[in-house]
Protein backbone atom coordinates (compact mmCIF):
# COMPACT_ATOMS: atom_id res chain seq x y z
CA UNK A 1 0.00 0.00 0.00
CA UNK A 2 1.39 3.33 -1.04
CA UNK A 3 0.50 6.63 0.63
CA UNK A 4 -1.00 9.51 -1.29
CA UNK A 5 1.39 12.29 -2.33
CA UNK A 6 2.65 14.85 0.14
CA UNK A 7 5.52 17.26 0.58
CA UNK A 8 8.12 16.48 3.19
CA UNK A 9 10.06 19.00 5.23
CA UNK A 10 12.66 18.35 7.92
CA UNK A 11 12.54 20.62 10.97
CA UNK A 12 15.83 20.88 12.84
CA UNK A 13 14.48 22.78 15.84
CA UNK A 14 11.22 23.34 17.68
CA UNK A 15 10.86 26.95 16.42
CA UNK A 16 11.41 25.71 12.87
CA UNK A 17 8.72 23.04 13.33
CA UNK A 18 6.31 25.59 14.80
CA UNK A 19 7.05 27.96 11.90
CA UNK A 20 6.21 25.21 9.42
CA UNK A 21 2.96 24.48 11.26
CA UNK A 22 2.15 28.22 11.15
CA UNK A 23 2.79 28.23 7.44
CA UNK A 24 0.80 25.11 6.56
CA UNK A 25 -1.89 25.02 9.28
CA UNK A 26 -4.32 22.11 9.09
CA UNK A 27 -2.63 20.74 6.00
CA UNK A 28 0.48 19.72 7.92
CA UNK A 29 1.08 16.71 10.14
CA UNK A 30 4.02 16.19 12.46
CA UNK A 31 6.05 13.07 11.67
CA UNK A 32 7.71 11.76 14.83
CA UNK A 33 8.23 8.00 15.22
CA UNK A 34 5.72 7.57 12.43
CA UNK A 35 4.48 4.21 13.62
CA UNK A 36 0.89 5.40 13.82
CA UNK A 37 1.02 8.03 11.09
CA UNK A 38 2.72 6.06 8.32
CA UNK A 39 0.24 3.15 8.54
CA UNK A 40 -2.58 5.73 8.41
CA UNK A 41 -1.00 7.24 5.29
CA UNK A 42 -0.60 3.82 3.70
CA UNK A 43 -4.25 2.98 4.29
CA UNK A 44 -5.09 6.52 3.13
CA UNK A 45 -7.01 7.17 6.32
CA UNK A 46 -4.96 10.38 6.49
CA UNK A 47 -3.83 12.52 3.58
CA UNK A 48 -1.96 15.58 4.83
CA UNK A 49 -0.33 17.66 2.13
CA UNK A 50 2.82 18.31 4.18
CA UNK A 51 4.75 16.17 6.65
CA UNK A 52 6.99 18.01 9.09
CA UNK A 53 9.65 15.53 10.20
CA UNK A 54 10.88 16.30 13.75
CA UNK A 55 13.11 13.22 14.10
CA UNK A 56 16.21 15.38 13.75
CA UNK A 57 15.29 17.76 16.57
CA UNK A 58 17.88 16.25 18.89
CA UNK A 59 16.97 18.24 21.99
CA UNK A 60 13.48 16.73 22.16
CA UNK A 61 14.79 13.34 23.32
CA UNK A 62 15.45 13.32 27.07
CA UNK A 63 14.39 11.91 30.42
CA UNK A 64 15.32 14.07 33.39
CA UNK A 65 14.10 14.90 36.86
CA UNK A 66 13.91 18.53 37.87
CA UNK A 67 11.72 20.54 40.25
CA UNK A 68 10.11 17.41 41.63
CA UNK A 69 8.97 16.23 38.23
CA UNK A 70 10.03 13.85 35.52
CA UNK A 71 10.42 15.70 32.22
CA UNK A 72 10.04 13.50 29.15
CA UNK A 73 11.02 15.05 25.82
CA UNK A 74 8.20 14.43 23.37
CA UNK A 75 10.51 12.65 20.93
CA UNK A 76 11.83 10.22 23.55
CA UNK A 77 11.60 6.72 22.09
CA UNK A 78 9.71 4.00 23.90
CA UNK A 79 12.94 1.98 23.81
CA UNK A 80 14.57 4.67 25.97
CA UNK A 81 11.96 4.08 28.68
CA UNK A 82 12.44 0.31 28.35
CA UNK A 83 16.15 0.57 29.13
CA UNK A 84 16.32 3.53 31.53
CA UNK A 85 17.36 2.73 35.11
CA UNK A 86 15.73 6.00 36.23
CA UNK A 87 12.39 4.77 34.87
CA UNK A 88 12.82 1.24 36.23
CA UNK A 89 13.64 2.40 39.75
CA UNK A 90 11.56 5.56 40.18
CA UNK A 91 8.68 5.23 37.66
CA UNK A 92 7.95 1.50 37.23
CA UNK A 93 4.42 2.33 36.00
CA UNK A 94 6.03 3.94 32.95
CA UNK A 95 8.11 0.82 32.34
CA UNK A 96 4.95 -1.32 32.62
CA UNK A 97 3.46 0.94 29.98
CA UNK A 98 6.33 1.23 27.52
CA UNK A 99 7.08 -2.51 27.34
CA UNK A 100 3.48 -3.11 26.33
CA UNK A 101 3.59 -0.67 23.42
CA UNK A 102 3.59 -2.56 20.11
CA UNK A 103 6.81 -4.63 19.90
CA UNK A 104 10.53 -4.00 20.54
CA UNK A 105 11.36 -3.11 16.94
CA UNK A 106 8.54 -0.58 16.76
CA UNK A 107 9.67 0.87 20.09
CA UNK A 108 13.04 1.82 18.58
CA UNK A 109 11.25 4.65 16.75
CA UNK A 110 7.85 5.07 18.42
CA UNK A 111 7.79 8.11 20.70
CA UNK A 112 6.07 8.85 24.01
CA UNK A 113 4.86 12.20 22.66
CA UNK A 114 3.38 10.57 19.60
CA UNK A 115 1.63 7.91 21.66
CA UNK A 116 -0.13 10.72 23.55
CA UNK A 117 -0.62 13.32 20.80
CA UNK A 118 -2.20 10.74 18.49
CA UNK A 119 -4.99 10.54 21.11
CA UNK A 120 -5.88 7.01 20.15
CA UNK A 121 -7.96 5.55 23.01
CA UNK A 122 -6.19 2.25 22.25
CA UNK A 123 -2.75 3.74 22.98
CA UNK A 124 -1.23 2.93 26.35
CA UNK A 125 0.40 6.11 27.66
CA UNK A 126 -2.82 8.16 27.85
CA UNK A 127 -4.29 5.96 30.61
CA UNK A 128 -1.02 6.01 32.53
CA UNK A 129 -0.67 9.77 32.22
CA UNK A 130 -4.27 10.22 33.39
CA UNK A 131 -3.56 8.02 36.42
CA UNK A 132 -0.38 10.00 37.16
CA UNK A 133 -2.12 13.36 36.74
CA UNK A 134 0.62 14.34 34.28
CA UNK A 135 0.66 17.44 32.11
CA UNK A 136 1.99 18.19 28.66
CA UNK A 137 3.77 21.20 27.25
CA UNK A 138 2.51 22.64 23.98
CA UNK A 139 4.83 24.97 22.10
CA UNK A 140 3.40 27.43 19.62
CA UNK A 141 4.33 30.78 18.07
CA UNK A 142 3.65 32.55 21.38
CA UNK A 143 5.78 30.18 23.44
CA UNK A 144 4.89 27.34 25.76
CA UNK A 145 1.72 26.50 27.64
CA UNK A 146 1.19 23.69 30.09
CA UNK A 147 -1.94 21.59 29.62
CA UNK A 148 -3.17 19.19 32.33
CA UNK A 149 -3.51 15.81 30.67
CA UNK A 150 -7.24 15.66 31.30
CA UNK A 151 -7.67 18.86 29.34
CA UNK A 152 -5.48 17.59 26.53
CA UNK A 153 -7.87 14.86 25.40
CA UNK A 154 -11.41 15.55 24.22
CA UNK A 155 -14.53 13.40 23.98
CA UNK A 156 -13.48 12.28 20.49
CA UNK A 157 -10.83 9.79 19.45
CA UNK A 158 -7.75 11.18 17.69
CA UNK A 159 -8.54 14.71 18.84
CA UNK A 160 -6.64 16.91 21.30
CA UNK A 161 -6.77 20.51 22.41
CA UNK A 162 -3.48 21.25 20.64
CA UNK A 163 -3.89 24.10 18.19
CA UNK A 164 -2.88 23.51 14.56
CA UNK A 165 0.22 25.67 15.09
CA UNK A 166 1.28 23.95 18.31
CA UNK A 167 3.66 21.08 18.86
CA UNK A 168 3.65 18.75 21.87
CA UNK A 169 7.18 19.18 23.22
CA UNK A 170 7.27 17.69 26.72
CA UNK A 171 5.40 15.46 29.14
CA UNK A 172 5.65 16.24 32.87
CA UNK A 173 5.03 13.54 35.42
CA UNK A 174 4.86 14.38 39.13
CA UNK A 175 7.84 12.80 40.88
CA UNK A 176 7.21 9.94 43.28
CA UNK A 177 6.61 11.06 46.84
CA UNK A 178 6.94 8.86 49.90
CA UNK A 179 4.43 6.01 50.00
CA UNK A 180 3.34 6.43 46.40
CA UNK A 181 3.28 3.84 43.66
CA UNK A 182 1.51 2.78 40.50
CA UNK A 183 1.18 0.07 37.91
CA UNK A 184 -0.20 -0.53 34.43
CA UNK A 185 -1.81 -3.81 33.43
CA UNK A 186 -2.69 -4.52 29.81
CA UNK A 187 -4.46 -7.53 28.41
CA UNK A 188 -3.56 -8.17 24.78
CA UNK A 189 -4.21 -11.01 22.36
CA UNK A 190 -0.62 -11.06 21.18
CA UNK A 191 2.52 -8.93 21.19
CA UNK A 192 1.97 -5.91 18.99
CA UNK A 193 -1.81 -5.80 19.31
CA UNK A 194 -3.77 -3.04 20.94
CA UNK A 195 -5.17 -3.73 24.40
CA UNK A 196 -8.36 -5.71 24.85
CA UNK A 197 -8.41 -3.52 27.95
CA UNK A 198 -5.77 -1.77 30.02
CA UNK A 199 -5.82 -0.17 33.47
CA UNK A 200 -3.32 2.23 35.02
CA UNK A 201 -3.50 2.96 38.74
CA UNK A 202 -1.47 5.32 40.89
CA UNK A 203 -1.85 5.90 44.64
CA UNK A 204 -0.27 7.90 47.44
CA UNK A 205 -0.78 6.89 51.06
CA UNK A 206 -0.36 8.83 54.29
CA UNK A 207 1.57 7.57 57.31
CA UNK A 208 -1.45 5.57 58.45
CA UNK A 209 -1.87 3.84 55.10
CA UNK A 210 -4.87 5.95 54.07
CA UNK A 211 -5.14 7.04 50.45
CA UNK A 212 -4.42 10.73 49.85
CA UNK A 213 -4.25 10.48 46.05
CA UNK A 214 -5.63 7.94 43.62
CA UNK A 215 -5.71 8.04 39.83
CA UNK A 216 -7.14 5.34 37.58
CA UNK A 217 -6.95 5.48 33.76
CA UNK A 218 -8.44 3.07 31.22
CA UNK A 219 -7.17 2.00 27.80
CA UNK A 220 -9.26 1.03 24.77
CA UNK A 221 -12.62 0.73 26.47
CA UNK A 222 -14.29 3.84 25.12
CA UNK A 223 -14.22 6.56 22.48
CA UNK A 224 -11.38 8.40 24.25
CA UNK A 225 -8.84 7.73 27.01
CA UNK A 226 -10.91 7.47 30.20
CA UNK A 227 -10.12 8.68 33.71
CA UNK A 228 -12.25 6.72 36.16
CA UNK A 229 -13.03 9.56 38.57
CA UNK A 230 -15.59 7.78 40.73
CA UNK A 231 -13.25 4.85 41.16
CA UNK A 232 -10.33 7.14 42.11
CA UNK A 233 -12.43 9.24 44.50
CA UNK A 234 -13.89 6.19 46.23
CA UNK A 235 -10.45 5.40 47.63
CA UNK A 236 -9.68 8.79 49.17
CA UNK A 237 -9.22 8.70 52.94
CA UNK A 238 -9.49 4.91 53.05
CA UNK A 239 -6.98 2.10 53.41
CA UNK A 240 -6.30 -0.03 50.33
CA UNK A 241 -7.73 -3.39 51.28
CA UNK A 242 -9.71 -6.07 49.49
CA UNK A 243 -13.01 -4.28 50.08
CA UNK A 244 -11.95 -0.83 48.90
CA UNK A 245 -9.97 -2.25 45.97
CA UNK A 246 -12.96 -4.26 44.74
CA UNK A 247 -15.29 -1.28 45.18
CA UNK A 248 -12.95 0.88 43.10
CA UNK A 249 -12.62 -1.84 40.48
CA UNK A 250 -16.42 -2.07 40.18
CA UNK A 251 -16.59 1.69 39.68
CA UNK A 252 -13.79 1.56 37.10
CA UNK A 253 -15.69 -1.15 35.21
CA UNK A 254 -18.79 1.06 35.35
CA UNK A 255 -16.80 3.97 33.88
CA UNK A 256 -15.69 1.87 30.90
CA UNK A 257 -17.67 2.29 27.69
CA UNK A 258 -16.44 -0.66 25.64
CA UNK A 259 -17.80 -1.83 22.30
CA UNK A 260 -18.08 -5.43 21.22
CA UNK A 261 -15.58 -6.18 18.47
CA UNK A 262 -13.09 -8.84 17.45
CA UNK A 263 -11.25 -8.33 20.73
CA UNK A 264 -14.32 -9.54 22.61
CA UNK A 265 -17.83 -8.64 23.72
CA UNK A 266 -18.38 -5.46 25.70
CA UNK A 267 -19.28 -7.31 28.90
CA UNK A 268 -16.07 -9.34 28.73
CA UNK A 269 -14.03 -6.16 28.36
CA UNK A 270 -15.86 -4.58 31.27
CA UNK A 271 -15.05 -7.65 33.33
CA UNK A 272 -11.43 -7.39 32.32
CA UNK A 273 -11.31 -3.75 33.42
CA UNK A 274 -12.53 -4.89 36.84
CA UNK A 275 -9.90 -7.64 37.06
CA UNK A 276 -7.05 -5.51 35.74
CA UNK A 277 -8.00 -2.68 38.10
CA UNK A 278 -7.78 -5.01 41.09
CA UNK A 279 -4.35 -6.19 39.93
CA UNK A 280 -3.13 -2.65 39.21
CA UNK A 281 -4.24 -1.36 42.60
CA UNK A 282 -2.66 -4.29 44.43
CA UNK A 283 0.59 -3.75 42.56
CA UNK A 284 0.39 0.01 43.21
CA UNK A 285 -0.04 -0.71 46.92
CA UNK A 286 2.91 -3.10 46.90
CA UNK A 287 5.11 -0.51 45.23
CA UNK A 288 3.87 2.30 47.49
CA UNK A 289 4.89 0.24 50.49
CA UNK A 290 8.39 -0.52 49.31
CA UNK A 291 7.97 -3.45 46.90
CA UNK A 292 9.16 -3.57 43.32
Amino acid sequence: MIPGSFDYVVAHSVPEAVGLLEQHGDEAKILAGGHSLIPLLRFRFASPSVLVDINRVADLEYLREAQGMLHIGALTREAALDTSSLIATRYPILLDTSVGVADPVVRNWATVGGNIAHADPANDHPATMLALNASVVATGPGGERVIPIEEFFTDSAFETTLKPNELLTEIRVPGPTERSGGAYFKLERKVGDYAIAGVAAYVTLDGNGLVTYAGIGLTNVGPHPIKAHDASNSLLGKPLDDTTIHQAADLAAAAAQPNSDDRGPAEYKRGMVRTLCVRALRKALERATGGK
Binding site: I2, G34, R77, D103
Partner: protein
Protein backbone atom coordinates in the same frame (compact mmCIF):
# COMPACT_ATOMS: atom_id res chain seq x y z
CA UNK B 1 4.95 17.07 -4.76
CA UNK B 2 8.44 17.17 -6.14
CA UNK B 3 11.00 14.45 -5.74
CA UNK B 4 13.68 14.86 -3.13
CA UNK B 5 17.34 13.97 -3.38
CA UNK B 6 18.58 11.45 -0.83
CA UNK B 7 21.95 9.96 -0.05
CA UNK B 8 21.89 6.77 2.01
CA UNK B 9 24.70 4.40 2.92
CA UNK B 10 23.52 0.83 2.56
CA UNK B 11 25.86 -2.00 3.53
CA UNK B 12 28.77 0.41 3.19
CA UNK B 13 27.86 1.63 -0.30
CA UNK B 14 26.55 5.14 -0.81
CA UNK B 15 23.38 5.31 -2.91
CA UNK B 16 21.98 8.58 -4.22
CA UNK B 17 18.55 8.93 -5.76
CA UNK B 18 15.62 11.25 -6.30
CA UNK B 19 12.53 9.83 -4.62
CA UNK B 20 8.96 10.89 -4.00
CA UNK B 21 8.50 11.65 -0.29
CA UNK B 22 5.76 9.02 -0.12
CA UNK B 23 8.14 6.23 -1.14
CA UNK B 24 8.53 3.78 1.72
CA UNK B 25 12.07 2.78 2.60
CA UNK B 26 11.34 -0.87 1.84
CA UNK B 27 10.01 -0.02 -1.63
CA UNK B 28 13.08 2.05 -2.43
CA UNK B 29 15.42 -0.69 -1.23
CA UNK B 30 13.64 -3.40 -3.21
CA UNK B 31 12.37 -1.63 -6.32
CA UNK B 32 14.82 1.24 -6.57
CA UNK B 33 18.02 -0.54 -5.59
CA UNK B 34 16.96 -4.14 -6.40
CA UNK B 35 18.11 -5.34 -2.99
CA UNK B 36 15.29 -7.84 -2.73
CA UNK B 37 16.52 -9.71 0.34
CA UNK B 38 14.40 -7.35 2.44
CA UNK B 39 10.89 -8.78 2.31
CA UNK B 40 7.43 -7.27 2.53
CA UNK B 41 5.09 -9.36 4.62
CA UNK B 42 2.10 -7.73 6.23
CA UNK B 43 2.39 -4.10 5.17
CA UNK B 44 0.91 -3.17 8.55
CA UNK B 45 4.00 -2.89 10.79
CA UNK B 46 3.14 -6.22 12.39
CA UNK B 47 5.31 -8.98 10.96
CA UNK B 48 8.87 -7.64 10.86
CA UNK B 49 9.79 -9.31 7.55
CA UNK B 50 11.00 -5.93 6.28
CA UNK B 51 13.30 -5.27 9.27
CA UNK B 52 16.60 -3.57 8.43
CA UNK B 53 19.07 -1.80 10.70
CA UNK B 54 19.03 2.01 10.50
CA UNK B 55 21.79 3.79 12.43
CA UNK B 56 22.11 0.75 14.67
CA UNK B 57 18.40 0.36 15.38
CA UNK B 58 16.30 -2.53 14.09
CA UNK B 59 13.67 -0.80 11.96
CA UNK B 60 10.56 -1.95 10.12
CA UNK B 61 11.33 -0.47 6.73
CA UNK B 62 7.67 -0.50 5.67
CA UNK B 63 7.08 2.14 8.33
CA UNK B 64 9.82 4.58 7.42
CA UNK B 65 9.92 6.86 4.40
CA UNK B 66 12.95 6.64 2.16
CA UNK B 67 13.45 10.39 2.66
CA UNK B 68 13.74 9.80 6.41
CA UNK B 69 16.80 7.62 5.76
CA UNK B 70 18.65 10.49 4.06
CA UNK B 71 22.16 10.69 5.52
CA UNK B 72 21.67 7.56 7.60
CA UNK B 73 23.39 4.17 7.53
CA UNK B 74 21.31 1.16 6.65
CA UNK B 75 22.17 -2.50 6.81
CA UNK B 76 20.19 -5.13 4.93
CA UNK B 77 20.61 -8.90 4.76
CA UNK B 78 22.82 -8.46 1.69
CA UNK B 79 25.42 -6.81 3.91
CA UNK B 80 25.87 -9.72 6.31
CA UNK B 81 28.12 -12.05 4.34
CA UNK B 82 31.64 -10.70 3.99
CA UNK B 83 34.13 -12.07 1.46
CA UNK B 84 32.26 -15.34 1.08
CA UNK B 85 32.07 -15.87 4.83
CA UNK B 86 28.67 -16.00 6.49
CA UNK B 87 27.92 -13.70 9.41
CA UNK B 88 27.72 -15.70 12.66
CA UNK B 89 23.97 -15.06 12.67
CA UNK B 90 23.59 -16.56 9.20
CA UNK B 91 25.77 -19.46 10.25
CA UNK B 92 23.60 -19.97 13.33
CA UNK B 93 20.39 -20.04 11.26
CA UNK B 94 22.05 -22.58 8.96
CA UNK B 95 23.46 -24.80 11.69
CA UNK B 96 20.35 -24.76 13.87
CA UNK B 97 17.85 -25.21 11.02
CA UNK B 98 16.19 -21.97 12.01
CA UNK B 99 14.19 -21.56 8.83
CA UNK B 100 11.84 -23.43 6.62
CA UNK B 101 10.36 -21.11 4.00
CA UNK B 102 12.87 -18.37 4.81
CA UNK B 103 10.52 -15.46 4.35
CA UNK B 104 10.97 -14.06 7.86
CA UNK B 105 14.68 -14.89 8.00
CA UNK B 106 16.30 -11.63 6.84
CA UNK B 107 14.21 -9.55 9.26
CA UNK B 108 14.69 -12.06 12.05
CA UNK B 109 18.47 -11.98 11.60
CA UNK B 110 18.72 -8.20 11.48
CA UNK B 111 16.54 -7.76 14.57
CA UNK B 112 18.73 -10.31 16.35
CA UNK B 113 22.01 -8.70 15.27
CA UNK B 114 20.90 -5.26 16.49
CA UNK B 115 19.73 -6.89 19.73
CA UNK B 116 23.03 -8.73 20.36
CA UNK B 117 24.97 -5.54 19.74
CA UNK B 118 23.53 -4.15 22.99
CA UNK B 119 22.92 -7.41 24.85
CA UNK B 120 25.72 -9.80 23.82
CA UNK B 121 24.89 -12.50 26.41
CA UNK B 122 21.11 -12.65 26.56
CA UNK B 123 18.92 -15.17 28.35
CA UNK B 124 16.49 -17.25 26.31
CA UNK B 125 13.65 -15.12 27.61
CA UNK B 126 15.39 -11.91 26.52
CA UNK B 127 15.86 -13.36 23.03
CA UNK B 128 12.19 -14.30 22.83
CA UNK B 129 11.16 -10.78 23.85
CA UNK B 130 13.63 -9.22 21.39
CA UNK B 131 12.22 -11.14 18.40
CA UNK B 132 8.59 -10.77 19.47
CA UNK B 133 8.00 -8.18 16.74
CA UNK B 134 9.11 -10.62 14.04
CA UNK B 135 6.66 -13.33 13.04
CA UNK B 136 7.65 -16.80 11.81
CA UNK B 137 4.85 -19.09 10.68
CA UNK B 138 7.00 -22.18 10.08
CA UNK B 139 9.37 -22.94 12.91
CA UNK B 140 7.61 -22.24 16.18
CA UNK B 141 10.66 -20.11 17.06
CA UNK B 142 12.54 -22.85 18.95
CA UNK B 143 15.32 -23.16 16.41
CA UNK B 144 15.42 -19.42 15.81
CA UNK B 145 16.16 -18.92 19.50
CA UNK B 146 18.89 -21.59 19.23
CA UNK B 147 20.35 -19.81 16.21
CA UNK B 148 20.53 -16.51 18.08
CA UNK B 149 22.19 -18.31 21.01
CA UNK B 150 24.67 -19.89 18.59
CA UNK B 151 25.47 -16.49 17.10
CA UNK B 152 25.79 -14.88 20.52
CA UNK B 153 28.31 -17.51 21.63
CA UNK B 154 30.25 -17.35 18.41
CA UNK B 155 30.38 -13.57 18.39
CA UNK B 156 31.38 -13.40 22.05
CA UNK B 157 34.11 -16.02 21.70
CA UNK B 158 35.61 -14.51 18.56
CA UNK B 159 35.13 -11.02 19.97
CA UNK B 160 34.01 -10.10 16.51
CA UNK B 161 32.24 -6.80 16.40
CA UNK B 162 28.91 -7.44 14.71
CA UNK B 163 28.52 -5.63 11.47
CA UNK B 164 26.23 -2.67 11.76
CA UNK B 165 26.51 -2.70 15.52
CA UNK B 166 25.21 0.34 17.25
CA UNK B 167 23.14 1.46 20.15
CA UNK B 168 19.78 -0.08 19.58
CA UNK B 169 18.05 1.03 22.72
CA UNK B 170 18.44 4.64 23.64
Amino acid sequence: MSKQHIRVTINGTVYEDDVEPRTLLVHWIRDGLHLTGTHIGCDTTSCGACTVIVDGKATKSCTMLAVQADGREVMTVEGLEQGGKLHPMQEGFHQMHALQCGFCTPGMMLTSIAFLSRNPRPSEHEIRVAISGNLCRCTGYVNIVKAVQYAAEKMASSEQVPIGAGQGGE
